[in-house]
Symmetry: C2
Subunit: 458 residues, 2 copies
Amino acid sequence: MKETSSERPNSQESAEYFELLRFPTVGTDPLHLKDCVQCAMWLKTWLEGIGAEARLLLPEGGGLSATPPVVFGERKGDEGMPTILFYGHYDVQPPDPLDEWLTPPFEPTEKEGRIYCRGAQDDKGQFFAFLCGMRAFFASHQGSLPTVKFLLDGQEESGSEGMARIAADMNDRLRADVLLVCDTSAAADLRPAIIAGLRGVTHFTVLLNAAESDLHSGRYGGIVPNAAQGMAELMASLHNPDGSIAVRGFCDGIVPPTDEELAAAETAAMSDGDYAKETGVEPVGGEHGLSVTMRNSFRPTIEVNGIHSGYGGPGSKTVIPCSALAKLSMRFVPGQNPSTCMALVERHLRQHTPKGMKLRIEAMTGEAPAMRLPLKSPVFRLAADVLGEIDPRGAVFQWDGASIPIVSTLARVSGAAPLLVGFGQGEDRIHSPNESFSWRQFMLSRRWAAGMLAALCG
Amino acid sequence: MKETSSERPNSQESAEYFELLRFPTVGTDPLHLKDCVQCAMWLKTWLEGIGAEARLLLPEGGGLSATPPVVFGERKGDEGMPTILFYGHYDVQPPDPLDEWLTPPFEPTEKEGRIYCRGAQDDKGQFFAFLCGMRAFFASHQGSLPTVKFLLDGQEESGSEGMARIAADMNDRLRADVLLVCDTSAAADLRPAIIAGLRGVTHFTVLLNAAESDLHSGRYGGIVPNAAQGMAELMASLHNPDGSIAVRGFCDGIVPPTDEELAAAETAAMSDGDYAKETGVEPVGGEHGLSVTMRNSFRPTIEVNGIHSGYGGPGSKTVIPCSALAKLSMRFVPGQNPSTCMALVERHLRQHTPKGMKLRIEAMTGEAPAMRLPLKSPVFRLAADVLGEIDPRGAVFQWDGASIPIVSTLARVSGAAPLLVGFGQGEDRIHSPNESFSWRQFMLSRRWAAGMLAALCG
């Protein structure tokens, strides 16, 4: 959509933002580890520039060399002022499918008030706009200042395992009153939203093996089992015809939303028509007979993120594929234990593995449970006031279908009240080709940061 | 298996064979059209070298530039002698997956009496050994000679469409008494086999589209339909839990084998144990409760040759794939009409297309019906005598689960009796990485050619 607002960051802010975007920080891909380290160094220097002590942290023990560092910074404030823990992540999703990008995925390109680049929004754009707001606040604020601790993760898109271990080690050093996270979406038409819940997530890879090699579909057709067909049957077995999850026990113990939560969620919800416009397809995924809000905010999912088996090139190749790979992710809601659910899914997959085939489950990451926050908390009331000044429509509550696995860990370790407010929109296409972020969103995030810090000092 | 026989072709024959193998003639891939044309020129020159008039043929009209030529040659014989039409194909299957090759796929490499190369057997090795046998026969035979017409196809692996159109145009020019084809397998332990039946084949590609782009599996999970999951469900819907084909009407009208045919087929059959040794997997594909011979020789199949959708790289990518592709092939038996079956499958796929998704069916090729030949034909009796001299065990009859789509067309146009005898073995791994052919097989094919030509002159 064409951006009419003429508001935009100053030249220093936009130049720094573009520098930050140019680092191809695909945290999940070892080939990009160097880019992640360089980006982390850049952020360390930036934080020092606003008066913070900063350094790069790597988890104790195993696999350091393969782990993007966490950038930790602390800007000491005045006695008796609150302590704020700010979390963001500089890693991004892989850019592929590359051929669907209209501009280079790691070269920020401005068009009609929007910046196109992998990470333009998720999360470099959102957290950097927030940092710019903080810097402005520190520069202009009269009177006592809060202490701010910064944690910039390099593995959020792949489970934040390093961050989790570091948080456990740092323990008290992360103590804070409020945990601020700027990595979520606003409601329709950029109406501000306070996140009252997040789904949990676990990812894993399924491998199926049959014959020793691909075999001729004529000579062996009807004889040798087909791994592509087997994987199709295995993936199809995960859901019932009504779209519900078919894994026995997976949904046991789910805590449904209260009437107040459901009502609040539905008021902030997009219409089915808006979803169709935004995505190009009718919103008919998930369980039949439930609203989109219910399905996305308060029900779990098992998604196939990819399937690859056999021939996919030009023309035809009459083989019986000998192996197949599938990548999956699960989203959890309160009442579900991720490791229990993973065990149930593994049992289901083993029970449904077609005759003659070998199943392997690999690369399991995440195991993050869902989070649901009390609507009546004081920090929510404070945030609602600040957001009410930014937007006369006032803030709504949302229960995000996405996950920020590390948030519940950080909340526990820091003892802080989580406050997740972000300004994402569906049109930003995060995780997709041509991801973008508008100056209008950037400025909202910037204003939100300054306003909330002021409110916490008031 | 280690080859003990010291027999091998003479140096000229093996040198020519290696030259022929080095052309990467992937007929289905436009990028290899030039290689196909160069290989065809080489074959034309070779045929002229044995006294044939030869030229390259392209079908009239459409898509010439994209079609590998057919090599046609004719070597005039004496009055009153029979006319033989010989068919082989110089195109090969794509070599991928490339990383599974132990030697370069288009550089013939000899190890323990076996030659490793794409096309070493299918069909370059088989037809070229036969051509060498013919050349030897012409050089040594006293007395009248038959007329031999040569047709070397460049598109057999992808449906022989050009060949079919050329055959229709040439019509009477292809008239012959016997149609000789050397592109099939011998029975276990290289016992000679006469092919009494072939399955038909059709290939096609299925494309499924949902959203406009891949979308975040958290923000849209439970809302947007998943094309990878949809394709899995679509492919799974093609078969019943007992392995039988679930497409309504697909198996109607199938002509079962006679008791004599079934008995003959079972005598030549490999054991389940041998199949397990050969392929590395239990032979549990296809319909439950039928023997491997019944499933492979006398029942149809629908095989998924490949499925590709979404992310398959390192780590994880939490997307809902917006599109999915599947490549399929169907094998037919007598009584099935390929275009009727294709229409039934298309109807089935449309009926089972998940809500919200768009289905496209593309790249349909083949439409070749099955073939079954009468066991009592005189040419079969003649062949049985020749093969009895080559191997004291004598020949068996086989009904090949594979397809040579063009054979029934050529039989009809030429009026000739088809005679398919080849010396392939499972260990040759045709269509797979590390395809190979042994000098022992090469020499059997060579001797068979010379012997059968002599018998036809006798």
